[in-house]
């Protein structure tokens, strides 16, 4: 691809991203927020014993563990982060 073509593709990509930012980025963020709250509940139910809430028998928790492991680090960040009312403004 020549330099001119690269530039043209770059500009088109930038316009595409800008339109996405105006129209849909917020929707995507809120969809992620909704999914995250569901995930919080799911992990709490399945891995509650990690926090001292033995809801499911550990046998089932252990069977689910491989599926939950990829989420645990981001889950912990979300749960343990100091939150403030003004976070809800944007």
């Amino acid at each position: 691809m020549s330099e001119d073509e690269k530039k043209r593709v770059g500009v088109l990509q930038a316009i595409k991203e800008f339109v996405y930012g105006v129209a849909a980025h917020d929707s995507a963020r809120f969809a992620l927020k909704t999914r995250a709250s569901m995930e919080h509940l799911f992990i709490l139910i399945t891995m509650g014993d990690m926090l001292g809430v033995p809801i499911l028998p550990p046998y089932y928790s252990l069977r689910l563990l491989p599926y939950v492991v990829p989420q645990i680090s981001t889950w912990k960040r979300r749960m343990l982060r100091e939150k403030d009312l003004t976070d809800a403004l944007a």
């Binding site: 930012g21 105006v22 849909a24 929707s27 003004t86």
Partner: protein, 562 residues
């Protein structure tokens, strides 16, 4: 003067501001580091903290800050003449507006992505956080009232707008259903729903509200005010994907296309300013200083931007160097939008008397007439253009209103939930926020309401600049570029709020207002004074922190001299 010169001046200011001043601050004072990990990378949680491309964030920031503010402010402020309004838009953005947006994002980024509540707690004092939250609540209430008034007056005065608004709502709800429930293709969804919304705009021209619901209902302010708050009620209590977001999604295309082609229309027509460059220092809403400086808020500087920059954008910037184009750059684009609104108001009426008759009915009619004229230059029929302009005005006002009511719902449950569990109920909390907003819409004169909202908005900006100044001092960086704008904004906004609130309460005490106006003037006057007192307490807390940081800075020097 030809309006094209206004646009050229705007482009020159944007170039100088962005290329030289913003670059100097970014590289020499803030010393942004492209290698430094941002909160989006450090605390990546896949939801709020997520590295995002600067182009996407540019669009996100623009959509979040460019509401009704930059459009309505200049349309009202042209009453002092277009020259002072233009000068304030240009200089306000150059020395204060972008500074606030950019520095709020940088501060939040360097402080681990904390939002204003947490930042005021850390940088000023625990008490400052509580006062700031109360301040924000009443500031948002004024915002809901001011924007609710715009929606109501537009629906009453432009009879084509209710049909367009209704069809936009239907299109939005359908978009939510198609995307999230039926899992339809996004392009198909977009085409179908935008076409439905456009159909509503056309339908408004052949089925205006007075023909559909009758003259008396079409002119009933209470009906449209209730409709606006019922709309916001749904946006606040329904899942966000079902109502608020998909409506915003469809609306963004309508607004974006309208503004884009409207600006092209200005270049095609190249109209001259027909209203005077300067009218008088003092006009019925107040003197040029301080009132004009709060009337034009978002086009020059707005506290809302600092909230978006700190709570939203700062958590998504993938590199520190992106803060200048995203937060600073978008502010310059918003300045151009304000100039566009100023050109509309200043060029479409042949005389000040014509403009005076139009502004008495609210800014919606002026904006719609301007959009109609400039889209007409590209071949769109005038009545269709007017309908298009009216729905843009409703969209830009109501999309922010619904966000505000949603936040007020959360804030009501958080602040009053400990007093009684009833406030934790989403419906009760939304109802309280909606009723307070409705009260302001129905009882307050819209120009005073706008000035009070502008004052609160600018005061929020000066508080943001105060926090940035304290942060810069705590980091041992030069703070002159935020300190002087903060002082100017603080003095100006306090003066504007005291002037307006005093005027309103004086009318109440002397019995100059009766009935609804008595309630409106009392509520607006009291809210204005509450905001002034809260801001003064915050300033005192800020001054204490200022002395603390200065003493801390002096310590190493003193130790070094011993």
């Amino acid at each position: 003067m030809n309006s094209i010169y206004g646009i050229i001046l705007g482009l020159v200011v944007a170039f100088i501001g962005y290329r030289f001043y913003a670059r100097y601050i970014d590289t020499k004072i803030i010393k942004c580091d492209p290698k430094k990990a941002t909160p989006a990378k450090m605390y990546m949680d896949g939801v709020e903290f997520m590295p995002t491309s600067k182009n996407i964030l540019f669009g996100y920031q623009f959509k979040s800050i460019a509401g009704a503010g930059p459009i309505i402010g200049p349309i009202i402020a042209i009453q002092w003449g277009w020259l002072p309004a233009l000068v304030w838009i240009l200089l306000g953005t150059l020395f204060i507006g972008w500074v606030q947006d950019y520095s709020s994002a940088m501060m939040a980024m360097r402080k681990d992505g904390a939002s204003f509540g947490g930042l005021s707690y850390k940088l000023i004092s625990p008490r400052a956080r509580v006062i700031l939250l109360a301040f924000i609540y009443f500031y948002l209430l004024l915002m809901a009232g001011a924007f609710g008034n715009v929606v109501t007056s537009t629906a009453v005065n432009l009879k084509s707008s209710p049909a367009a608004w209704l069809f936009l709502t239907i299109a939005g709800v359908l978009a939510g259903q198609m995307i999230y429930r039926w899992r339809k293709d996004i392009i198909l969804t977009t085409v179908v729903t935008v076409v439905i919304a456009m159909f509503g705009i056309w339908l408004g021209t052949i089925a205006p509200s007075d023909k559909v619901v009758g003259e008396s209902l079409a002119n009933n302010r209470l009906l449209w005010a209730i409709a606006a708050f019922v709309f916001c009620y749904f946006a606040a209590v329904l899942p966000i994907w079902r109502f608020a977001l998909p409506i915003n999604y469809v609306a963004s295309y309508i607004v974006f296309l309208g503004l884009f082609f409207g600006i092209i229309g200005i270049f095609v027509l190249r109209p001259d300013f027909t209203l005077p460059a300067f009218t008088d220092f003092s006009i019925p809403i107040g003197p040029l200083w301080p009132i004009m400086f709060v009337t034009i808020a978002c086009g020059a500087i707005s506290g809302w931007h600092s909230i978006v920059s700190s709570s939203g954008t700062a958590r998504q910037l993938e590199s520190e160097v992106d803060a200048r184009p995203v937060c600073g750059g978008v502010m310059f684009v918003e300045m151009m939008l304000a100039i566009f609104a100023l050109i509309i108001a200043g060029t479409i009426y042949a005389s000040p008397a014509e403009y005076g008759a139009a502004i008495a009915k609210g800014p919606g009619g002026i904006f719609a007439a301007g959009v109609s004229k400039f889209l007409g230059a590209l071949g769109l029929p005038l009545d269709l253009g007017r309908s298009y302009g009216s729905v843009i005005m409703i969209i830009v006002a109501i999309t922010l209103m619904q966000l505000v009511i949603r936040f007020m719902r959360v804030a009501t449950s958080e602040l009053l939930g400990d007093i009684s569990p009833i406030f934790k109920n989403a419906h009760i909390a939304t109802f309280i926020a909606s009723i307070l907003g409705l009260l302001l819409v129905m009882t307050g004169w819209w120009q005073y309401l706008w000035v009070l909202f502008g004052g609160a908005n600018q005061l929020m900006a000066s508080l943001a600049l105060m926090m940035v100044t304290l942060w810069l001092m705590s980091e041992g960086k030069k703070a002159f570029w935020t300190f002087y704008p903060m002082i100017f904004m603080f003095v100006t906004t306090i003066a504007a709020l005291v002037y307006t609130s005093y005027g309103l309460l004086k009318k109440v005490v002397t019995g100059a207002v009766k009935g609804e106006a008595l309630v409106g003037s009392t509520v607006m006057g009291l809210v204005g004074f509450f905001l002034v007192i809260a801001a003064i307490i915050l300033a005192v807390e800020g001054a204490k922190a200022f002395i603390r940081y200065r003493a801390l800075r002096a310590q190493p020097a003193a130790a070094g001299s011993n």
